[in-house]
């Protein structure tokens, strides 16, 4: 299926990711299946097999191996793509940290899925948050269109000579991965103008260029030097992202800021959200506004580097902020909450009332009612944090299940 002019296709998030990789002319895909990501690599496998994509698709034996092969391929000068999810990210963790330090560009898609235990297939963000500190750049997508666009933008950012880092594009499992919606796929030639064939900006492995990479260091100073450089390159990616985003807009008419402000004007209550559930948040904001409640929403998009200034600029001047984390650090709470609060600390007009909310764990829905409950909680004087989106009905349903698992519950009550 050749694409010779821009067209709109009904695509799942996974298919949109595969199209993004295809039109980015990826050359190498080491892959390993995991639900709900598998459709991405299956689709790419077919395209490599039938010659639509030139290069190599290699079935790997684990995510640990897959990320290592991806990094090594990138260090040898080809454009690399791969995808993973959940337990796969955890299994690949050692390789992920390792290749981030190699400073080799690539794009990886993560399809968010909650982490064991208990094991589940449904989404939340503990998987993507687990690689928060690895050194990869992170872009979080709300729609299938964003997934496609972020892959193209992602390669340009990753391969920028001042960045040279892997970019992780995140989407929610099920809510995007298996959900079809229209995606505008631009003309292939137009994309090539925006993102030409890969040309490395650093030495790569070949016989005429003997090189040692990633050698051991002794002494904290050497280690610190390389780590500071990793930090500076990652921070630099915010500016590069904005520059690339503007260029993307010139080519395709869509602009992506580091955060997205939705009905923030005059908002008395602001929900901070990310990924696909922000769509539900936006819907709630509109309904609440119609009910006379001045709600607004701030969507996180570029999560690493962390756009602290943009976030603080957006939130200051609003009295009540609820930071909805679809993740949980047991013993601490929501993972983005302290980062956002810290970004506000030196602002005089910072929000006075900030609530940490935990919701959407393991694919649990966040309902319209939940959003209103959050606002009521923000209005109340009760200060217990975090605020779990778990209700009476949830508890009753669970108790019915547990009764089947443990019939004489009374024996274990004390």
């Amino acid at each position: 299926m050749g694409i010779d002019s821009s067209k709109r296709l009904m695509l799942t998030g996974n298919k949109a990711a595969a199209w993004g990789a295809r039109l980015a002319q990826v050359e190498y895909v080491p892959a390993f299946p995991i639900t709900p990501q598998t459709e991405i690599v299956e689709t790419l496998a077919k395209w490599f097999a039938d010659g639509t994509l030139k290069g190599k698709f290699t079935n790997m034996d684990s995510e640990h191996s897959m990320f290592m092969a991806a990094g090594a391929g990138a260090a040898t000068g080809v454009r690399v793509f791969t995808a993973s999810s959940s337990q796969g990210i955890l299994h690949g963790m050692e390789s992920i940290y390792t290749i981030a330090g190699w400073r080799t560009p690539m794009v990886v898609v993560n399809v968010s899925r909650a982490l064991a235990t208990p094991i589940t297939l449904e989404p939340d963000h503990n998987d993507i948050m687990s690689v928060r500190d690895c050194g990869f750049i992170q872009l979080h997508a709300e729609t299938c269109q964003e997934i496609f666009d972020f892959i193209l933008i992602g390669y340009k950012v990753a391969e920028d000579p001042f960045v040279c880092l892997p970019v992780l594009v995140n989407m929610d499992g099920f809510y995007l991965s298996f959900t079809r919606e229209p995606v505008l796929i631009p003309n292939e030639q137009k994309i090539k103008k925006f993102l030409p064939e890969f040309k490395t900006s650093q030495p790569v492995f070949k016989a005429s260029q003997p090189m040692a990479r990633a050698s051991a260091v002794f002494g904290g100073s050497t280690y610190t030097y390389f780590k500071i450089q990793q930090d500076l390159a990652n921070r630099q990616a915010e500016e590069v992202f904005l520059k690339t985003s503007k260029e993307f807009e010139k080519h395709f008419g869509r602009f992506y800021d580091v955060v997205e402000k939705f009905n923030m004007e005059g908002a008395e209550f602001v929900f901070v959200m990310s990924n696909s559930f922000s769509t539900k948040g936006k819907d709630a904001v509109l309904k609440l506004r119609r009910q006379g409640i001045k709600a607004g929403l701030l969507k996180l998009r570029l999560f690493r580097p962390f756009p602290a200034t943009a976030i603080a600029d957006a939130l200051c001047g609003h009295d009540n902020v609820a930071i909805i984390d679809q993740n949980l650090a047991p013993g601490m709470g929501g993972i983005t909450y302290p980062e956002i609060v810290a970004s506000l600390y030196d602002r005089k007009n910072r929000p006075q009332n900030i609530l940490s909310v935990i919701g959407g764990l393991g694919g649990k829905d966040i309902t319209e009612g939940d959003f209103l409950s959050i606002i009521e909680k923000l209005k109340s004087s009760e200060t217990k944090q975090p605020f779990y989106l778990f209700g009476k009905k949830d508890e009753e349903n669970f108790e019915r299940l547990q009764h089947l698992a443990i019939s004489n519950k009374e024996a274990f009550q004390s």
């Binding site: 050359e27 190498y28 080491p30 030139k54 290069g55 190599k56 290699t58 079935n59 790997m60 034996d61 684990s62 640990h64 191996s65 897959m66 290592m68 092969a69 991806a70 990094g71 090594a72 391929g73 990138a74 260090a75 040898t76 000068g77 080809v78 690399v80 050692e94 390789s95 390792t98 492995f205 070949k206 016989a207 005429s208 260029q209 003997p210 090189m211 040692a212 990479r213 990633a214 050698s215 051991a216 260091v217 002794f218 050497t222």
Partner: protein, 310 residues
Amino acid sequence: MTTLETHYKKIKDLHHEEAVAPGTGLCAGCGGLEGLRLGLKELGNDVLICNAAGCFTLLSVYPFTPLKGSWLYTTMGGPVPAAQGVRDALDIQLSRKTLTEDDNLSIVVVAGDGSSNDIGLGATSAALHRKLDFIYFCYDNEAYGNTGFQLSASSPYGSSTQTTPSVKFHPVGAELNKKNLFDIWRAQEPTYIATVSPREPIDLSNKFAKAKNLVGPRMFICMSPCPTGWGFNPKDTQLIAKLAVDTGIFPIKEYFEGKVIHTKQPRRRLPVEKFLETQKRFSHLFEPERKSDVIEQIQKTVDKYWEPYE
């Protein structure tokens, strides 16, 4: 008895150029380094070493590399998939003609016995399954050497390690037999497998010369006497490597085209204790009193191995 196409007959025939520069932090008298040095002499400089965490991580310490070729430090279980990634990327560029054949590299994985037998074995098996075109060099010093000599799956029965000391209730030390990595690899029918000893440079060099011209997975296990971990004077490294062969404990062989051939078969095997008594890791077999049952058990295992060939 050998079917090797013998390129070299004498030490003077070996490549004079060294592929590994001196100055590394590896222990004086390291048997594994001698094996790698001789092997790389044969492979030349157009190589990339994908290294597993282990003693040989110390080969390249920033800002230094001893290699005339290239080096990539990976992780303890990651050198083989890294080799896959580099091989794939080179092949992609070769087929697109964006890389010339002159710029091609041989990919060499360097890993210790801990990585090879334990943490990296799954990934290696996968690469053998994929028929990855690479050379694997396992320096086998029969324990986790870089962390101070703890039991690996390669530690032989009767050896004491930091995590299997010989004590009252476990007088033997390591109570398990050494994993048979050669046969595990062989079950997947790679292109070539060889065991080599640093004490047999001609045999070693001929095997590398042969492997160099083959395609597919080519696997080496190098007996690597370890003065630090085994407990002997570094000057005796080669002597101990020789005793490992002469007692039949370490068979020098190769697997090629479906057949296993011993390329250096001891004419009359020496008793195993000639090897055991040279090292502190076996000293509990001789003092305070001789543990004849353990020594006999080791001898029996060696005898059983050689029975079909003698």
